[in-house]
């Protein structure tokens, strides 16, 4: 593998000025292209498609739990309650109620557990806050970990080349220890709890 990379890079190295020239225009083209993409993304986000009533209803279905079935939304469940709730959602949408009003209605009826995602209020804010906080902490740990591993004292112990020497040294050590162990025939304690 490393052999392969080696041959490739030597081959590439010769015509570097050439290839650099070839690549740079492409790279220059990439920047406007990315900008174009960003523009299109935002344009797309702004031009919100108007959803049909059924699509809105399905969106609500997916955020309401079926009160009698463990861990299923009313969109997934085939229980009668779920069926009735789906019907109710559509009725209410037709009557012009907003999503909040509909959720409030079901919360009043079945308590907060009916919402598939906990509302970000009070103590329950934590459920949303902790994951990003943990990720940031993880990133910080990663950063320091990488810096720590990059310090020079980590060089050295036994690189792959020293493996033979290392294992020979180890074998010798073991033999010595074994001899010592045999001499101190008190045996049992020898494997003691040193560290």
């Amino acid at each position: 593998m490393s052999l392969l990379q080696g041959t490739r890079s030597t081959r590439v190295r010769l015509p570097i000025p050439n290839s650099a020239k070839r690549i740079r225009p492409l790279f220059a083209a990439a920047v406007p292209a990315i900008l174009l993409l960003l523009f299109l993304l935002f344009a797309g986000a702004c031009a919100t498609k108007t959803l049909t009533l059924e699509e809105r209803a399905q969106g609500i279905d997916q955020r309401l739990m079926c009160p009698v079935c463990p861990a299923e939304t009313i969109d997934q469940s085939q229980a009668d309650v779920a069926l009735q709730m789906r019907e109710l959602v559509r009725e209410k949408l037709r009557a012009g109620e907003s999503e909040e009003q509909i959720f409030d209605f079901f919360v009043e009826r079945y308590d907060k557990g009916v919402l598939a995602e906990p509302p970000a209020e009070g103590f329950n804010v934590l459920v949303w806050v902790i994951p990003p906080v943990a990720l940031v902490l993880g990133l910080a740990l990663l950063w320091f970990g990488i810096r720590h591993l990059g310090r020079p004292e980590h060089r050295g112990m036994s690189s792959e080349g020293d493996w033979e020497a290392e294992s020979e040294r180890y074998l010798r050590e073991v033999k010595e220890e074994f001899e010592a162990y045999r001499r101190a025939s008190g045996a049992g304690e020898a494997s003691g709890q040193g560290s």
Partner: protein, 666 residues
């Protein structure tokens, strides 16, 4: 049958306990004979466990309703082939399955392990049989599947009807095997630490077994998705359900491990980290088993089962304390062989990968535990469901796809931005091109554009690597097919990994397709009536009802006609009702093409002859199922042993067996 089963379980427990205790005493008191004898005992343990499995399956086949477990999970009407499924349909049987899978895996792993390190092998044997002893003890003392029925019954209750599906012959066994075999790489890691071998000797064996466990678990999860898709009747394959999460969490941690172990294999780095990872993987596998037996989440499990759940949780805490304790004790001896030369290196990329996988696993645990927390603090029960996981884990998964496009192109040791820019140019131009085409097709949502674009970048990167390598070999005189195959076999972990990455790309497409572009309609049709869903005309023709002793099947006949007027055939989706369980499993009509699935499921049969159908048009789902075999193929390539030179029998029966802890203590 019952006596035979119980007796063999008791035998198995004795053998396994002897293997565990014998190994420890043997290695501590320098009695090589005892160590060997204990290992032989571990080789033997699978036998009685298999006998007790056969006894249980036999009891199902002979409809021995005097056994409580058989009476609860089958009945006279059950067809015979389902005896195998019924065997692990309940709590006791599934623990027996875990035990048999672990017993076999342990024996195979110990028998195949390199004989270089007697002491660590002895400790490994002790750890793996220790875990096995736990399962067997639970079976013998707490959850004996051969317990007699209190009051004789003429017929059993029957198997849970959701389980009568071909997928059930393989999905639960694979999931459970995957979960429990995490013990093997864990045992090699902890075993070598206990023996004071703080080098990299455990790495190859540990990696092999971690990959085995990882791929079995992954395949099991996919099969579970397929089962949910065809039978649960809502048209999706993943809902972040507690039980799904229970298998997914360890899989994520294992994925992190099989990546970062490569760094130790090649460069002798991350020694502490890899052991911490495999410990975490094992702990989360036990957590998964706890959740499956009535964990912290809403479930319909009975009290008896939740007691067992706490036993698993207790065992999890004990093993976690033990394994991390051992790691902590040896931590000063686990130095890295080399320093991390650059932040822009494959090593660092693997660390970022690890962070992301662990973050997703953390989100899952957090989502599972939070309802309990909230309940105790505020007194209000809340639900943490699908929308939460999608919103929090969606971006993390996207970041992983992004990393998958870059990581493999970053060289080991030290990369330069120049080089990276050159390597990334083509993939990301591809990504842009794909995104622009998609925008042209009218897709404007940011997440799918990013996900599909990045997937294109990943695929381009992989294909180009293959192309370049093959071309280089071709130039030195090999024909293209030969060059391609030799390229792959020259660095199997790498090219096998690429195949797995391609499978992940397929899954990403399927997920984006179904999550963002699915069309769903609930319609009520009278016979002869037609409805149209995104271009397909669906005609409901007729329905019939068939009555069975345990269920009533209602079958609807529907015809699907494509947009161009071509008939795609008639289908017979069905829904059954099982009064004993109050369950209505369905069997969907699915017309699958690589582009999209038409999915029809009858939900309601009304008295007036009309039928309520749910019709879905699901883009790209098929790629989810194609990804499974591709992923397994990639794993096999990555696992395939290099031409055997390492297998030279270096049977050093040096007394290296002994006072190794003393060495570590120096």
């Amino acid at each position: 049958m019952a006596e035979l089963g119980t007796l063999s379980l008791f035998f198995a427990l004795t053998l396994s306990l002897y293997a565990c205790v014998g190994s420890v005493i043997g290695v501590r008191k320098s009695l090589p004979e005892l160590v060997t004898s204990a290992r032989y005992s571990a080789y033997l343990t699978p036998l009685p466990v298999i006998v007790s499995v056969m006894a249980l399956v036999g009891a199902f086949l002979s409809r021995d309703f005097d056994i409580k477990y058989v009476a609860e999970h089958s009945n006279a009407a059950m067809s015979r082939e389902y005896a195998w499924v019924a065997f692990y349909a309940g709590n006791e049987g599934s623990i027996l399955f875990l035990a048999v899978a672990l017993a076999v895996a342990a024996a195979v792993a110990l028998a195949l392990a390199p004989r270089l390190h007697q002491a660590s092998l002895a400790y490994t044997c002790a750890v793996v049989t220790g875990v096995l002893t736990f399962f067997l003890a639970v079976l013998v003392f707490l959850a004996n599947p051969f317990e007699a029925t209190a009051v004789p019954v003429p017929d059993g209750r029957g198997m849970n009807p959701l389980l009568t599906h071909p997928g059930m012959f393989v999905h639960p066994p694979m999931l459970m095997t995957g979960l429990v075999t995490v013990t093997v790489p864990f045992a090699f890691a902890v075993g070598s630490l206990l023996a004071g071998r703080t080098g990299d000797e455990w790495v190859d064996t540990g990696r092999t077994w971690a990959l085995v466990s990882w791929s079995i678990l992954g395949a099991g999860l996919l099969l579970g998705g397929w089962w949910a898709y065809t039978i649960l009747g809502w048209g999706g394959f993943w809902a972040w359900d507690p039980v799904e999460n229970a298998g997914f969490m360890p899989w994520l941690v294992l994925t992190a491990f099989v990546h970062s172990i490569m760094v130790q294999k090649r460069r002798g780095m991350f020694r502490v980290w890899n052991i911490a990872l495999i410990n975490t993987a094992f702990t989360s596998a036990l957590l998964g088993m706890f959740i499956n037996r009535g964990g912290p989440t809403p479930s319909v499990h009975s009290f008896a089962e939740s007691v067992l759940g706490w036993v698993f949780l207790g065992f999890m805490v004990v093993t976690a304390l033990f394994s991390f304790g051992v790691l902590f004790k040896r931590i000063n001896f686990l130095r890295n062989a080399q320093r991390l030369e650059s932040k822009l290196s494959r090593e660092a990329a693997f660390l970022v990968n690890n962070l992301l996988f662990l973050a997703i696993a953390f989100v899952i645990i957090w989502g599972q535990v939070f309802p309990v927390l909230s309940d105790t603090v505020t007194g209000v029960t809340i639900t943490v469901g699908e929308p939460f996981y999608n919103q929090v884990n969606g971006p993390l998964l996207l970041a992983l796809v992004f990393l998958m496009g870059i990581g493999p192109l970053v060289p080991w040791r030290r990369g330069s931005f120049r080089q990276l820019r050159r390597a990334l140019l083509l993939p990301f131009i591809m990504a842009l091109a794909v995104a622009i085409v998609l925008i042209g097709l009218g897709i404007t949502k940011a997440f799918p554009l990013l996900a599909v674009g990045l997937s294109a970048a990943v695929a381009t990167g992989i294909v180009r690597e293959w192309y370049r390598g093959t071309r280089a070999r071709h130039r030195s005189g090999e024909s293209y097919p030969v060059a391609f195959l030799r390229l792959i076999s020259a660095n199997r972990p790498r090219y096998g990994g690429y195949v797995v990455h391609l499978a992940v790309v397929m899954m990403a497409l399927a997920i984006v397709g179904t999550y963002f572009f699915e069309t769903q309609r609930d319609v009520r049709l009278a016979p002869g009536q037609t409805t149209e869903v995104s271009g397909y005309s669906i005609t409901y023709i007729e329905s019939e009802q068939r009555d069975f002793p345990d269920r009533a099947e209602r079958i609807a006949t529907v015809e699907i006609v494509a947009e161009d007027g071509r008939s795609l055939g008639t289908f017979r989706p069905e829904q059954s009702f099982y009064p004993a369980f109050n369950l209505r499993p369905a069997r969907a009509a699915i017309h699958s093409t690589p582009l999209e699935d038409v999915y029809i499921i009858p939900n309601d049969f009304f008295p007036d002859g009309t039928v309520g159908f749910r019709v879905l048009v699901n883009p790209l789902v098929m790629w989810m199922w194609v990804a499974g075999p591709v992923m397994v193929l990639g794993t096999l390539i990555a696992l395939w042993p290099a031409r055997s030179r390492a297998r030279a029998p270096t049977m050093v029966s040096v007394p290296s067996v002994m006072p190794t802890p003393a060495r570590a203590a120096e």
